[in-house]
């Protein structure tokens, strides 16, 4: 469904992405890992339209995304979350989802909103102010919820588990699994916690200095000496 070919991004003299190429199939779950500054969020920004690439090809279901603004990509079915939650200000949790649904999915389906609230365990907070009355886990869930309300077929999740303690993380992982199974979504998940990625994703991509250095099953990828070196500077863990 999504194809990147030779995508590169330059920020001044810094090459944030160097000829990134990979494809995501319908319903596939991919873990995206790499050290800090490797270019993971830049890759999400390129796919969602927040950053324009300096070159390369980017297609979604046969259509080039390169000239499309963020909001058109969302309407095509690309949903994303932000690493630092960005709830819509002056809105309740439910209103956040309503805005996402009305504009992203261009539908008015209160039942689906309720379903998303339930699946993300946000029903009790539906009428709370999204910016000021949520705990971290709820903020992260709302990020996923907003993306889900746009009725996506590809979900890009940027460190939605970061900062959560073990119990919350496990519960959140279960919710993500339920989301994926319920809506038959393709997912790309940025995450530093390797066991989490291995549990959720049958395929892992590793970025380092803007380059994809490994692509495959978690077991093979995390034994790859180049991957180990990128994280530790050593060839063995």
């Amino acid at each position: 469904m999504l194809t990147l070919e030779g995508v590169h991004v330059n920020f001044g003299g810094v090459q944030a992405l160097k000829s990134a190429s990979f494809a995501v199939a319908e319903g596939e779950s991919i873990g995206l890992v790499g050290p800090n500054g490797a270019g993971k969020t830049t890759l999400f920004n390129v796919i969602s339209g927040v950053v324009r690439p300096s070159g390369g090809r980017l297609d979604f279901r046969g259509q080039s995304l390169l000239k499309l603004p963020e909001w058109k990509r969302a309407r095509l079915g690309i949903g994303r979350s932000f690493q630092i939650p960005r709830p819509l200000g002056h809105c309740t949790v439910r209103e956040n989802l309503i805005v996402a649904q009305r504009f992203g999915a261009r539908t008015n389906d209160p039942q689906r909103i309720d379903e998303i609230l339930d699946i993300l365990n946000l029903r009790d907070k539906a009428d709370s102010d999204a910016a000021t009355e949520l705990a971290l886990t709820e903020h992260k869930a709302l990020e996923v919820g907003k993306a889900l309300a746009t009725n996506p077929s590809l979900l890009l999740l940027d460190e939605v588990l970061a900062g959560l303690e073990t119990t919350s993380k496990r519960a959140f992982m279960e919710r993500l699994g339920a989301v994926r199974d319920r809506y038959k979504l393709a997912m790309v998940i940025i995450e530093h916690d390797i066991p989490t990625i291995a549990a959720l994703c049958p395929r892992v991509l590793v970025l380092n200095f803007g380059q994809i250095i490994a692509d495959g099953a978690p077991d093979a990828v995390f034994r790859d000496p180049e991957v180990i070196r990128s994280y530790t500077g050593e060839t063995t863990l």
Binding site: S48, G49, V50, P69, E70, W71, R73, A74, R75, G79, R80, F82, R86, P87, L88, G89, H90, C91, E95, N96, I98, V99, A100, R102, F103, G104, A105, R106, A131, K146, A147, A149, T150
Partner: protein
């Protein structure tokens, strides 16, 4: 209860005020002037609240609306009420010229709009064959008599401007309560977060600019037919920007009705109370009042009044 209050307010506005002040054209004229400022103040607040834009250039929309309506009715014989709407449309079209400024934020946007306003004033001055140049337009058709009701007089003008304001407030409130309103409010804090969920933020802001310009243009057109005279220095005067901003802030620009309450309060207080006491420099008192309001209640007058009403209601309920 809410409907009863609304009905009583409408009855007071449409019947009570004309009965009370219809016989005193001076006071009625002042009320019409205050409502004219209120119309622009409401449109200005709409742009700020929903579009997140602070405009110093609403005089441009006021002027374009007034000239469009006046020229269409004088030179092409368009009926005055139709010209009124076309005046609003003209102002909305003029706002298209300001679209490049939507890329700017905060003070940069405000200054760009201010510059645009001057361009329109220069155009009105230089396009003499159409606008009459610096000499302006005289004998602009007044509002006609319809169904036996004379709209050309002070009371008729009052009914028209009151209706314009009520309809504008209704549209403003409807937009504010819609998904558009939610998205627009959310955009102020984090525009990118709204764009990635499918909100075409620039389109929405442009729509708010056009709506605000349309309302201001209709009010400007009303004024042109009410006073029956126009010249560029008057129609594009910065007064049509400054007074509405002061009124909106004084009344409470975050609310729909605050700008209207503010315009009525500051203009009528100024003309009926401060001016007779201080014929020269009465505006100073207004300035002090505005400063006091900003310091003591940054939300403006209407939120204070509403809070007081609620707390009194609460006391009665406990008693």
């Amino acid at each position: 209860m809410k409907h009863a209050i609304l009905g009583a307010a409408l009855l007071a506005a449409y019947v009570g005020v004309p009965l009370l002040f219809g016989g005193t054209p001076y006071v009625m004229g002042l009320i019409v002037a205050a409502l004219t400022i209120a119309g622009v103040a409401l449109a200005w607040a709409l742009l700020g609240n929903l579009g997140g834009m602070v405009s110093f250039g609403h005089a441009a929309f006021f002027g374009v609306g007034s000239y469009t309506s006046a020229v269409l009715s004088m030179k092409l014989g368009v009926p005055v009420f139709a010209a009124l709407l076309l005046g609003g449309l003209g102002a909305a079209v003029a706002s298209v010229a300001m679209l490049p400024a939507l890329r700017l934020r905060g003070p940069y946007f405000a200054l760009a709009i201010l510059a645009y306003a001057h361009i329109f004033q220069i155009l009105a001055t230089e396009m003499t064959p159409i606008t009459g140049g610096a000499g302006g337009l005289l004998s602009i058709p007044r509002f006609p008599t319809l169904f036996g009701l004379e709209f050309g007089g002070k009371t008729g003008g009052y009914v028209i401007i009151l209706t314009i304001i009520l309809l504008s407030a209704f549209v403003y409130d409807a937009v504010r309560r819609s998904a558009w309103g939610l998205a627009l409010k959310a955009m102020h804090d984090t525009e990118i977060a709204t764009r990635v969920i499918g909100v075409p933020s620039t389109h929405l802001k442009a729509a708010m600019l056009a709506l605000s310009a349309f309302i201001t243009g209709v009010v400007g057109a009303f004024n042109a037919h009410f006073i029956s005279f126009l010249e560029p220095d008057y129609a594009f005067s910065s007064t049509w920007t400054v007074l509405p901003i002061a009124a909106a802030i004084f009344g409470g620009y975050r609310t729909v009705w605050g700008p209207v309450v503010g315009a009525l309060a500051i203009y009528l207080l100024d003309q009926l109370v401060f001016k007779p006491i201080l014929p020269h420099g009465h505006q100073m008192v207004l300035g002090v009042l505005l400063c006091a309001m900003i310091l003591l209640s940054p939300g403006g007058l209407l939120p204070v009044l509403l809070r007081r009403r609620r707390s009194e209601g609460g006391r009665h309920a406990h008693a």
